[in-house]
């Protein structure tokens, strides 16, 4: 019971700190708004424009590829000469240009590797990334198509060389197969739609910035342990019939409630202000909010526990949160990072929190879809809480 009184007192103090409220609620909303609008022209809401480079005038393969890409709603593809395509990428008129190598068809027929190059507009990372991912997927379907084509070739009389007409017919067959694959791979196409149409910048940055600011708010909350030590109230509390565990427990409960409120308000406000769709399962959103609040509380409290003063908590905490946010993908799409960074990201709280919210926002995952993230954050929180209580109880 006394722990709850400590928590209530902490919350009352926090709610009276106007600056803390601004940092906790107003600042993230403003930043999500600004960055969301800034990126909205380059986030996949508008069509991804790209070119397939013609190796020669009237390159049939390039025209077919461009035509196939344009069948997908979010792409506007055209076959262009290489120089024109490069200029368009440089100017930012298109996000990427796809260069098909000579002998691609032959290589595919023979099942040999072929290099498809993608020229990307560096200023259009998201769209260019989508184009690159699409080319990789196309190559996969093409490989599948070539295997099927080869089996067809093998089934006819291989003693007889194929005529040009037969080769063309086989190529057409292969492309038809690829096109059918697009249609048949409903889930894959749906994925592409989700990753493009669904990725409006507000939806992407709302959970990531919410998590970053949540960590900063909780850092401020956790460092009150040191502020109370420095002000003498911590010692005074320990001269009352209040156990050390109740005191630390009260601090944790206060921080957790603060975190859950902040995150909950940000979820509602981003929905109202920016139309972020957090998913159709309110229970799943609530669970993710509470689990994320718990995880952030444990991260902040462990930072306070390893620090000696409020100032040190600020210094260590700020650095740690910024690094964790960068590596964990709270400030940029970690999917586009090198493999080593993507592997490192999995060791951060931000990654799992963001991943859970992304599952809700972009995949409408529901409770069953977020359980891995929930389990990992709960596990992390348990370890960090145990560590914090151990460290703080000894002081």
């Amino acid at each position: 019971m006394k722990a709850l009184h400590v928590a209530t007192k902490d919350l009352a103090i926090r709610f009276r700190d106007r600056n803390a409220l601004i940092v906790a609620l107003l600042l993230p909303l403003v930043l999500i708004g600004i960055i969301g609008f800034a990126f909205s022209s380059d986030s996949g809401i508008s069509a991804v424009r790209l070119a397939v480079v013609e190796r020669e005038d009237g390159d049939l393969l390039a025209a077919m590829a461009a035509g196939m890409l344009s069948r997908i709603d979010v792409f506007e593809a055209a076959a262009l000469p290489e120089e024109e395509a490069r200029d368009a990428v440089s100017r930012g008129d298109i996000s990427a240009a796809v260069l098909l190598p000579d002998g691609l068809l032959d290589a595919m027929m023979e099942g040999e590797p072929a290099e498809i190059r993608v020229l990307k507009d560096p200023a259009s990372t998201v769209k260019a990334g989508i184009a690159e991912a699409l080319v990789q997927r196309t190559a996969t379907y093409a490989s599948a198509g070539s295997v099927r084509s080869r089996s067809v070739i093998e089934s006819i009389d291989t003693e007889q060389p194929l005529t040009d007409a037969e080769q063309f017919e086989l190529a057409a067959y292969m492309f038809r197969h690829m096109a059918e694959s697009w249609d048949q791979q409903l889930i894959a196409i749906e994925d592409v739609d989700q990753e493009t149409r669904g990725i409006d910048a507000h939806s992407y940055f709302a959970p990531s910035f919410a998590v970053v600011f949540l960590l900063f708010t909780l850092l401020g909350s956790a460092k009150t342990i040191h502020e109370e030590r420095e002000a003498g109230t911590y010692s005074r509390l320990l001269t009352t019939p209040l156990s050390r565990v109740s005191l630390i427990g009260g601090k944790l409960v206060g921080s957790f409630v603060l975190a859950a409120l902040q995150l909950g308000i940000l979820v509602i406000m981003t929905r109202v202000l920016f139309g972020v769709n957090w998913g159709s399962d309110p229970l799943a959103v609530l669970v993710m909010v509470l689990v994320t609040a718990l995880g952030a509380t444990s991260v902040a409290i462990v930072i306070a526990a390893v620090s000696r003063t409020a100032r040190q908590t600020d210094q260590i905490g700020t650095t740690f949160i910024l690094v964790m946010s960068l590596v964990g993908g709270s400030m940029w799409p970690v999917e586009q990072a090198p493999g080593v960074v993507q592997r490192l990201a999995r060791f951060t709280f931000n990654y799992w929190a963001h991943s859970g919210f992304k599952d809700l926002i972009f995949r409408d995952a529901g409770l069953s879809g977020i359980w891995p993230e929930v389990a990992i954050i709960l596990g992390l929180s348990t370890v960090l809480f145990a560590l914090s209580v151990g460290l703080l109880s000894r002081r």
Binding site: K2, H5, K9, P241
Partner: protein, 325 residues
């Protein structure tokens, strides 16, 4: 004052690593007594109070408060003591009432009993009209009064006041000391630490003098003075000692001891006033210029000086206290 000890400290030792903060301290405080721990900053007074209030465990020795061991019966001891720390240990953005309500809950009070007690205490400390205001809008003296009120919320049997008058104006100091006396008159036992001689003289029934972690003397003021012999002190401030040598004063009749510290001369004698003309004559004959001269009856300063060879008044803050009480 009853004789049954409410505080019993026996051979208390407290080490912080290799530093011995408290060194075999033994004393007892009777119920209803105001007991003072007097000593310079860093003498170990706060460490003794911290041990008595269950904040730090003793390294050796035994400490009992209200008949309970501070280590094994820590929670019970804490519910019977009130602690007023040196710093303003309050939540600045909460009002006085909110602070008192919170601290009252920490002592296990609730409901109307708590509300009534808070009302009563803001009245006692004279802040009922400002009770709804935030602490950070209060003056230093007002904060001090609420700081004390927190320690009284649960009607403790013993109140520990750890240098509660540091950094406040003389008027507020006076009112706080009078408040302490009033609380004591209602039967509250008080353990009071200070490095201000005047406060100890004004407030305390008995005084323990602490220096370097050791309790070097204990008793009533008159007992302490008697311990060093009932002597007056002649304090002389002179100038020009660089050019002239100080004439011998020890051979004057009734002089017991002479201590010279720069331009300050302290002479302990059986009767200061009768010796005064001889001292003045000896100094002026030697060409020494006297800037000031004062005769004082034996007091705690004399005791401290006698026991440690140093003056408590060398503390800068203590110097400001002259004549303030």
């Amino acid at each position: 004052m009853e004789n049954r000890p409410i505080i019993e400290v026996d051979g208390l030792v407290k080490d912080y690593g290799r530093v011995r903060a408290v060194d075999h301290v033994t004393f007892a405080v009777g119920t209803g007594e105001v007991f003072g721990l007097l000593g310079p900053n860093g003498a170990g007074k706060t460490t003794i109070i911290s041990t008595l209030s269950c904040l730090v465990p003793p390294s050796a020795g035994s400490v009992r408060v209200c008949g309970l061991d501070v280590v094994s019966d820590s929670m019970e001891v804490r519910s019977r003591i009130g602690v007023v720390p040196q710093e303003i240990a309050l939540y600045q953005s909460l009002s006085a009432r909110e602070n008192l309500m919170f601290w009252g809950r920490m002592y296990g009070l609730s409901g109307t009993a708590l509300t009534r007690r808070v009302d009563e205490l803001v009245e006692v400390v004279g802040l009922s009209e400002r009770a709804e205001h935030r602490i950070d809008t209060y003056s230093g003296g007002m904060k001090r009064r609420i700081n004390i009120a927190v320690g009284l919320l649960h009607n403790p049997q013993v109140l520990f006041l750890d240098e509660p008058t540091v950094g406040i104006d003389p008027q507020t100091r006076r009112s706080l000391l009078e408040l302490a006396l009033e609380l004591n008159a209602r039967g509250l036992t008080i353990l009071y630490t200070t490095h201000y001689l005047e406060e100890a003289e004004f407030l305390c029934d008995r005084i323990g003098i602490v220096d370097g972690g050791k309790l070097i003397a204990i008793g009533t003021q008159s007992e302490l003075v008697a311990q060093i012999g009932a002597t007056d002190t002649i304090a002389v401030e002179v100038e020009g000692l660089e050019e002239r040598s100080l004439p011998s004063l020890d051979d004057l009749p009734d002089v017991l001891e002479t201590v010279v510290d720069g331009g300050d001369i302290r002479i302990n004698a059986k009767s200061g006033s009768s010796l005064l003309p001889s001292v003045v004559g000896r100094l002026t004959d030697a060409g020494v210029t006297i800037r000031s001269i004062d005769v004082s009856a034996p007091n705690l300063e004399s005791v401290f000086l006698h026991l440690t060879g140093r003056s408590l008044r060398s503390e800068p803050e203590a110097a400001e206290q002259d004549g303030e009480l």
